[in-house]
């Protein structure tokens, strides 16, 4: 199955009460597939076809506020258009699950993969789970529902996977049985429903100087509970099907001197490179981030503690900031830990630029030098860029 098909399959098995839908490349086939399931009567989901992504998220918020299990999916400019309501979903504590098929934000217009869409959303208050392959997109979607609905969390979750690289390429999927998924997700009883006239509540009232701050602090608390919940659900999922999940994956990292940090499909390619380098006696390793929000900084700092040089791969730019978003988090995580580790940021793959094994080898070769000589002045590099400054 392709990443889109795998995610649509997870959604078929979840059979949310409400799915709101507006097409955008490369998410279109996901919703196309799910709409087929609705049309064929495989699910009794209320499919709401809307006129924009702003409406897609608004309708999902309305459905979730009524106590429904609500989902939608989007990519890039679609995510940008729903931006306002993305924040609102999180601040109203509505456990909406949304697959986001990563695509570069315009402009210039581009339909291929990078992480500028979801990275721009990192402060919206959503949990963000990144997927390495279609299997993980499927597994993450099934887990996201439980994470979002957990009473200690109650936050919406974005499940991301790389546009075209994962959304449109086929791989073998190990799915759960429908009955297993039904058991796994159970039933959802929302604490509040705007449609419950026996116990009327107001959702989304004006919140000014007197209480807005307190509600933001509550969101922080939900996010603080999230790491334990993500781990607990990742373990339970492993017991169910043999594939357990954590906040991040340490791949041959324990004794690694040269560590690459990445997220998304590039992690698969990096693992192959790490294996090759290991055969040549290079102590290479990978730290694959699954949960970027919440960002498990203490655990990541510990996992990277033995490295002599770290290369952080960023598939997006934070203009005007010192490096990409992942790079900054890693540096912040290591601050104060006492480890003097050379860190280099590799910005790569923007607008779908291919990230080959050779590019990753170039990154590791760069790290070898950093391990010997310390953090260089040119610590923000553009991997795969043509012209001056490209590596």
């Amino acid at each position: 199955m392709t990443g889109n098909d795998a995610t649509a399959e997870a959604m078929r098995q979840i059979a949310p009460d409400v799915v709101t839908c507006f097409p955008i490349t490369p998410q279109t086939e996901l919703m196309h597939k799910f709409a087929e399931h609705v049309a064929d009567g495989d699910v009794d989901t209320e499919l709401v076809l809307v006129e924009s992504e702003h409406s897609a998220m608004s309708a999902a918020v309305g459905a979730a506020a009524a106590g429904a299990r609500a989902m939608t999916a989007t990519a890039a400019n679609g995510l940008a258009l729903m931006w306002e309501i993305v924040y609102i979903a999180a601040s109203y504590r509505l456990p909406i699950v949304m697959p986001v098929v990563n695509r570069a934000l315009s402009g210039p217009i581009n339909i291929h993969c990078d992480h500028s869409d979801t990275m721009g959303c990192r402060d919206t208050g959503w949990i963000q789970l990144y997927s390495e392959n279609a299997q993980e997109a499927y597994d993450n979607t099934l887990q996201a529902l439980r994470i979002a609905e957990h009473p200690d969390v109650l936050l919406p979750v974005m499940v991301t996977f790389d546009g075209f690289i994962l959304s449109h390429t086929a791989e073998i999927l190990e799915g759960l049985e429908d009955a297993e998924v039904k058991d796994w997700i159970g039933t959802y009883e929302a604490k509040y429903s705007i449609l419950n006239t026996d116990d009327p509540v107001t959702i989304g009232p004006l919140d000014l100087q007197d209480y807005y701050f307190e509600h933001k602090r509550q969101q922080v608390e939900g996010m603080r509970h999230a790491p334990d919940v993500i781990r607990e659900i990742g373990r339970a999922y492993g017991e169910l099907c043999g594939r357990s999940y954590d906040l991040f994956e340490a791949y041959r990292l324990e004794d690694a001197e040269l560590a690459v940090v990445a997220l998304g499909s590039t992690c698969g390619t990096t693992k192959v490179v790490v294996d090759e380098l290991r055969e040549q006696g290079v102590k290479a390793g990978l730290l694959k981030i699954r949960s970027f929000r919440p960002f498990p900084e203490a655990e990541i700092a510990e996992a990277l503690g033995n490295a002599k040089a770290i290369g952080v791969l960023d598939r997006s730019i934070s203009f005007g900031a010192p490096g990409g978003p992942v790079h900054k988090e890693i540096k912040a995580a290591l601050y104060g830990t006492g480890h003097e580790i050379g860190i280099v940021n590799y910005i790569y793959g923007l607008g779908g630029r291919d990230m080959s094994m050779n590019d990753i080898k170039t990154a590791f070769a760069g790290l070898e030098k950093v391990a010997r000589e310390g953090t260089p002045d040119d610590n923000i590099r553009f991997l795969g860029l043509r012209g001056e400054g490209g590596v």
Partner: protein
């Protein structure tokens, strides 16, 4: 009303109690204060119908005063008042500052 801490309130800004807007005082937002004149008022109740904040106080079908804890000073009551001169006059809040 005593303002509560972040652990003492429902999450997500939900208001669990129906119709508790009365407990939220909006009178401090006012720039202009409607001042009612009981002498000239003909008790037509137009102001009472039009007030968006239910701040015209009445008893037995007659205006008795204005609820300044909730009146936001929009001036609709005065605009709608049919008598000449108006039985509700809008006056700058700052004129009352010394009171």
């Amino acid at each position: 009303m005593k303002e509560r801490g972040w652990t003492e309130i429902p999450i997500g800004g939900v208001i669990e109690e129906a119709g508790n807007a009365a407990a939220y005082e909006t009178g401090s937002w006012r720039t202009y204060r409607p001042v009612w004149n009981s002498e000239t008022c003909i008790h037509c109740l137009r102001c009472w119908v039009a007030c968006p904040d239910s701040s015209i106080e009445i008893a037995d079908g007659k205006v008795t005063g204005i609820d300044y804890e909730h009146c936001k000073g929009c001036g609709i009551c005065s605009f709608e008042c049919p008598v000449d001169p108006k039985a509700i006059e809008m006056k700058l809040e700052t004129d009352f500052a010394k009171e």
